[in-house]
Subunit: 256 residues, 2 copies
């Protein structure tokens, strides 16, 4: 039995055991809050794992798990034998994460919409087939869109999906919704990761026209292959991005 009776419950200093969020997450949220609000400033030493455990009446391992979370997010660094410290604030907090376009824009308070240029079945060319790991000629579903922020074009997307997924997507609101969002919330796909290959190219005429730049203007070309959690390829895209309008930011961690 666990402490079924209430009166003897030790204080948790705000952490509640039965809550929807696990204890280690509650603690890491609490600490994150205190760091962001300046209660713990840059380079300050945080309470030790033992202290956190005592103070919140949790086990040391749980406190440790909370600190581990913050360390992975780059808010905290730990030195053996010395303690855990608040990292100096950096431009982009947190690891590089896979996000959809509208998702990333709305996180910055901007609204993104799409103009759908083409949407329908196609067959896998050899390069696409190779990336999606299907035989050449396999029926696929293709979507071509121009992404707009504040009514002005920022990128041209050419996406390929497995035929069934594509047909499902075609029925949804591709103008306002992220494909990633639709995949996860409508199609029941559990997205895992995506491999990117990034380069720079001169704009071809048709794409230049869609993006409102002169032919030959430099564009960011991102080849993105997304997988679900099992590693199954789900979505292969070419993104041509006007980098004068959008900056691609990411944070890489040095392996420990």
């Amino acid at each position: 039995m666990t402490e079924t009776d209430q009166t003897t419950q030790p204080r948790r200093s705000g952490l509640t055991p039965g809550a929807p969020a696990p204890l280690y997450q509650q603690l890491s949220d609490l600490l994150r809050e205190r760091i962001k609000s300046g209660i713990y400033g840059p380079l300050d030493r945080l309470p030790s794992e033992h202290e956190l455990a005592r103070e919140h009446s949790i086990s040391r391992i749980t406190a440790r798990q909370a600190l581990g979370e913050l360390e992975r997010n780059g808010l905290v660094f730990r030195l053996q034998g010395r303690g855990s410290f608040v990292a100096r604030p950096t431009v982009v907090q947190g690891l590089a994460q896979l996000t959809g376009f509208a998702e990333a824009m709305s996180a910055q308070g901007l609204e993104a919409v799409s103009r759908v240029l083409r949407l329908g079945p196609t067959r896998a060319a050899t390069d696409v087939a190779e990336r999606l790991r299907v035989p050449p000629g396999t029926p696929l579903f293709e979507i071509r869109r121009v992404r707009l922020v504040n009514d002005s074009p920022v990128s041209f997307d050419h996406s390929y999906f497995p035929a069934d997924l594509g047909r499902r997507l075609a029925r949804e609101d591709l103008v306002r919704r992220d494909v990633f969002w639709l995949l996860e919330n409508v199609c029941g796909v559990r997205l895992g990761a995506a491999d990117h290959q990034i380069g720079a190219v001169a704009a071809e005429e048709d794409i230049a026209l869609q993006l409102g730049v002169p032919a030959g203007a430099p564009l960011l070309l991102i080849d993105r292959l997304s997988y679900d959690v099992t590693g199954m390829p789900i979505d292969y895209e070419h993104l041509y991005v006007r980098s004068d309008r959008v900056r691609y930011g990411l944070r890489l961690e040095r392996p420990r």
Copy 2:
């Protein structure tokens, strides 16, 4: 000596308790090996945490820690109530990691060298000062290099360092050694992460000349600000990359 003693020691099936590497790492290495060699194939279920614990005479938490490692590296995915499974192999295994240029090239069996164009003290212009978080006009150290692979140019790097670090670097072998490598192994810096902003630009004449491309050719422009583990800015760089010669690849994870 392995098998230090002995009679009362429970079997560890190859895992040695006193070894330099911790048990959870030994186990995760062992599993990684079995996945790579195909003993556990794509989508196979791995032994449960309990089984691994029993089999190797370790605690369940330690087995769990090993699986967590593999999950973060994208080799394994876990489903509550079902088990842990081998992910399908993907192009780039592992999270996006911060690596130096030579480091990344040599991982692919290529040799990278640098031609140093300029190396010496300078003062922080406003944009550089802002990124490195020093007052404008602060003395810095500047290095301009062309990176070569197989004797042909692939990128032009313009780097700024704190003055003392830069002077230290200037005495070292910048032709063959990565700056990251020197920072870590000679200067005693513990690198943490780096923020990148990626765009595409048309090559200016002087850079075009150095890279052997026509003026106006599209180049990848990477603005990279590297920090040490404490979050202190260490190195601010502009990288102009011939993306016809090098592809920037990275893997982003969907947040859990």
